[in-house]
Symmetry: C2
Subunit: 341 residues, 2 copies
């Protein structure tokens, strides 16, 4: 671990390694209810729909976003059941996004399994994604809150905007850190933020509480994404369900690359340009990339950035009453960051 | 014209050929307001979004669905302005569907121009479609009617379901007429129906009026699609913006093919099977297909079916007050059917 990654101490320290266990234990009962809604509402007389959707939905996802809705509701002591349906809607939006992402990226592996587009083809993935997205809106409409609809329709538009922005930035190594943060703020963090915020809406809490949960989710989402970006250069398929170097081979200009490029000399910049343009993506090039990332401190500083966002998430959380549920949400931040170490 | 197509007399007869002109004149002012919403709300700081969306939205579409919302509102003497935003939402849903359809079909021509996926690639078309779809929901949420949201989110899910069902039926010449009607009822007629129905919702008319406009739109949508199916075998790029035989070359099993197959002998069935599987799609095969469609009466009977749906649309319309607006909606039915002759 590098010095700059060790220096900060913003996440709570436990004897044990932080994990998702507290959040999972907190929401276990609720998650069963959410899963019932998911399984019931992904059905269709058109057999291909549940078949394809089930592959991804049953395929080892953590259900992190629905868990955040449930955990946020628990932290507000919400006693109703509206959040089950809404958490399912959030998971449907997420699943629709993944289906379309895999088509856009031409990916063949997700969570260690063949992607839906590999098995059923791009057309089916596009259309079933559309179906899940529409179904998500049907679930929200059944709930009937215009405010929830506003939060989630806005998030959906922001996500799509972020995806198009990322497509535009693809393979462009001169992307700035600011632009990259705007992209992941849109394509990843917007749904984390909405997932948390809607709990405050259904629990009818103050604007301040709503904003706090929104900020918690948004900063957690950015932290998660930045750590994912770092892990992509230092992990293996066994621990992450994807091989190290996926982003590298796809020419995805993530924060580690942006930092290494900004800090590199002319020869380093030539290397990154060629790599991101797809001209050098083999195992040797990946090894060189990892070495360059380490020697410029790009991995460590990406993680340092993630810790700052994690810290913001925790500060936002402090506006909520001190409960076991809040502690579980806090440990989720620690988990997001510490899994890289 | 064949005997069976001449036999029925369900559409109003004019001296002149029926046209869209009465509807266009009726809604001209409103359509300017709708176009302003469309242009304003397809904007984004991500330049590719308005660029790509504008190509399709400005690209010669008739705005038929928004015109139906406006025309239906006029037939109910609605004096507000909520329908402008909602008509724009309907057009966004339609445009998103077209973008994804062209990706799914691998089409390179739409309305006589290069498709967006040809110019900007499939990934951009998928993601900008997602953006427009999300933006449509934002517009509906701004309107704030849960009932409108219910109608349009249901329609969106039904459309996606219909698209997947059509994908499943692709190139399968043994599709039944019933199954085909269910598919076009979902993928085409559902949005026509919703576009008309929401006018009754914003005008706060009775359930009976709402149902009448829903039935008008649905039956008009089916009639339009069936006539399109027939025209695909008898038209040219000048009149329709697409070449005759597009469906044939794509192996789309439309009603004319279903009827010709059902009525054909063993040799005819071998021909259609080979053609729909893509084994015979050249000009000679197309000429043979057209000859077979004519000699079995498949084209004429597809048009006869369209006239029945047109008749149902007109009957539904009779539940509305007799106004010039209602007459314009009636002539739209006549136009939908007569353009094949």
């Amino acid at each position: 671990m590098s010095a700059s990654a060790q220096g900060s101490n913003v996440v709570p320290l436990h004897g044990a390694k932080p994990s998702l266990a507290p959040l999972m234990n907190l929401v276990a009962g609720g998650l069963l209810a959410v899963n019932r809604v998911i399984l019931e509402r992904m059905q269709s007389p058109v057999a291909l729909i549940p078949e394809l959707a089930g592959h991804l939905i049953a395929g080892g996802g953590k259900r992190l976003r629905p868990m955040l809705t449930l955990g946020s509701a628990a932290a507000l002591d919400y006693a109703g059941d509206r959040h089950y349906r809404l958490a399912a809607a959030v998971e449907f939006i997420h699943t629709a996004t993944l289906l379309h992402d895999d088509v856009v990226d031409g990916s063949d592996l997700r969570r260690g399994r063949a992607t839906a587009n590999t098995i059923w083809g791009n057309p089916a993935s596009v259309l079933v994604g559309d179906f899940l997205f529409s179904r998500a809106f049907e679930l929200m409409v059944e709930d009937g809150s215009i405010k929830v609809l506003k939060v989630l329709s806005r998030a959906s538009a922001v996500i799509a905007e972020g995806e198009v922005a990322q497509l535009t930035a693809q393979r462009q190594v001169e992307t700035t850190e600011e632009r990259y943060l705007a992209i992941i703020g849109a394509k990843t963090a917007a749904l984390f933020a909405a997932a948390c915020q809607i709990a405050a809406v259904v629990a009818e809490r103050s604007q301040g509480i709503e904003d706090a949960l929104e900020a918690y989710g948004r900063n957690l989402g950015i932290a998660f994404q930045l750590v994912d970006d770092a892990i992509d250069y230092v992990s293996d398929a066994d621990t992450m369900g994807k091989d190290a170097g996926d982003d590298f081979r796809d020419g995805k200009v993530t924060l580690p690359v942006i930092l290494a490029y900004a800090r590199g000399d002319a020869s380093a910049r030539r290397f990154w340009k060629r790599a991101m343009e797809g001209a050098a993506t083999g195992p040797d090039a990946l090894a060189e990339a990892v070495a360059r990332l380490r020697e410029t401190g790009a991995i460590a500083d990406t993680l340092a950035r993630a810790r700052v966002y994690g810290s913001r998430a925790l500060d936002a959380l402090n506006l909520l009453p001190a409960t076991a549920a809040r502690a579980a949400l806090a440990e989720t931040v620690a988990f997001a960051i510490e899994r890289a170490y």
